[in-house]
């Protein structure tokens, strides 16, 4: 269930990046590179998303002697959250189009 606090713009960027292919597991470093976030910002965001059950995590075992890697993807709740964000954005843009302010 989504908590009462709204997500930060960076967190929304992260879940949108995850939503581009929601079934695929993603690595932290790849995500950081994709959304251009520093690791110190990305991991607190991932922790918050996981706490709010928008994100599920898994471990990928490494070769012998190497640490496992953590993987991330959106939960069903996370996907619904992104859908809700898209819907809200679409609704906001309707009055602007009606007024001829779409900027086209």
């Amino acid at each position: 269930m989504v908590g009462p606090r709204a997500l930060s713009p960076q967190a929304i960027e992260v879940i949108r990046a995850l939503a581009t292919d929601p079934a695929r597991w993603r690595y932290g470093y790849d995500l950081a590179t994709e959304v251009n976030l520093k690791s110190g910002s990305l991991y607190p965001i991932l922790i918050r998303l996981a706490d709010r059950e928008l994100l599920e995590t898994s471990w990928e075992p490494g070769p012998p002697g190497r640490p496992p890697r953590h993987l991330y993807r959106l939960t069903t709740t996370g996907r619904k959250y992104v859908d809700a964000l898209d819907l809200a954005r679409a609704e906001r843009s309707v009055p602007r189009r009606r007024l001829g302010l779409s900027g086209a």
């Binding site: 690791s39 991991y43 890697r69």
Partner: protein
């Protein structure tokens, strides 16, 4: 800006005292080296970014350690020195600065003391017209760095298991001793150690840090907890005493000063002296002697190293407790080296009186 000698005079310490503290530090280092097994040393695969990250992961609460392991797993796959450094430093900054600062009450108190001293310094800077001298800006930058460093150090230490209560209690003891030795006067606060008899110097520099180090290690049966408690004690006491001392400096216009030195010069020198005293010299003495005392106490009690290892920063739940049994006994040569270092330190300290 005052000379180093002026600072030493305010501290009440001469070169002999400094040497004595260094010797005690050597004795502690010998004990510490016997406490650590070769397994504790970083492996060849552990470059500096990995070691830094492992240290910072030790700050995470138990229910977040898997996120630290996630960072380590990612760092392991990153190629290129600059990429590795960037990733590791980002994670360390996130863990040290961005994560919630807990426990909230003590951390807020220490942060308020730091902010308060900054406000008082700023007021003094403007009121006494210190901004005209470029050296005063250098002094202000040094003081700001010391205050910030103390706040970050407190944030790190407060999150270590078993450290907060012991360290803060030690900090209260140190601050109370300083205030008592200053006879609760502004003049005494500006140069606290010179305000009472010659016995105050060894009491503040030796007895109090020893009591804190021994107390922390004795109750916890852990040298690591004792050492961290001593460090937290000096950081927390330093921040509080710096606030009180800066108020004292402003209240009495810097206190007594040499003939020919104006008010601004006296205030500038007094600010610098209390900063070095509260945030550098006495904290270093407290940390060094408390560190030695904690290490020696834990070794004398021959603790179960497995019990102690839970406090090590890079410890993970997966590490086998079997390593714990590999504590190495103190050999005769090491005992002799420690004994000689302690005797020399005590002798030098007495010579300095």
């Amino acid at each position: 800006m005052p000379s180093d000698l002026a600072v030493l005079e305010v501290v009440g310490a001469g070169p002999f005292t400094v040497l004595a503290i260094l010797l005690l530090g050597v004795a502690g280092a010998v004990l510490w080296s016997r406490e650590h097994t070769p397994q504790d040393m970083p492996s060849a695969a552990d470059d500096i970014p990995i070691q830094l990250l492992k240290w910072a992961i030790g700050l995470l609460p138990a229910d977040r350690v898997d996120w630290g392991q996630a960072m380590l797993g990612e760092l392991d796959r990153i190629d290129g020195d600059s990429n590795r450094w960037r990733f590791a430093l980002g994670c360390v900054a996130g863990l040290v600065l961005v994560s919630p600062w807990r426990p909230v009450g003590p951390m807020a108190t220490l942060a308020a003391a730091a902010l308060g001293s900054t406000v008082v310094l700023s007021v003094g800077f403007v009121h006494f017209g210190l901004a005209t001298d470029p050296l005063n800006w250098v002094m202000l930058a040094i003081m700001a760095a010391l205050v910030m460093g103390s706040v970050v150090a407190a944030n790190v230490l407060l999150r270590r298991p078993g450290v907060a209560h012991r360290g803060l209690a030690g900090g209260v003891v140190i601050a109370a001793m300083w205030l008592a030795f200053s006879r609760f006067t502004f003049a005494g606060l500006v140069s606290p150690i010179n305000s009472v008899g010659a016995w105050s110097d060894p009491a503040l520099l030796i007895a109090v840090p020893v009591a804190i180090g021994v107390g922390g290690a004795w109750r916890s049966r852990s040298a690591i907890v004792g050492r961290r408690a001593a460090r937290l004690a000096r950081v927390s006491a330093g921040l509080v005493m710096f606030l009180v001392s800066t108020v004292a400096v402003v209240a009495i216009d810097g206190g007594p000063r040499d003939p020919g030195v104006g008010v601004a010069g006296g205030v500038s020198e007094a600010f610098f002296n209390v900063a070095v005293l509260a945030l550098l010299v006495l904290p270093m003495a407290t940390a060094t002697i408390g560190w030695v005392a904690a290490t020696a106490t834990a070794r004398l009690r021959q603790p179960d190293l497995g019990w102690d290892r839970q406090f090590m920063s890079t410890q993970t739940a997966a590490e086998p407790a079997a390593q714990a049994s590999q504590i190495r006994p103190i050999g005769l040569r090491h005992r002799a080296a420690v004994a000689v270092a302690v005797v020399m330190a005590v002798t030098l300290f007495l010579l300095a009186r």
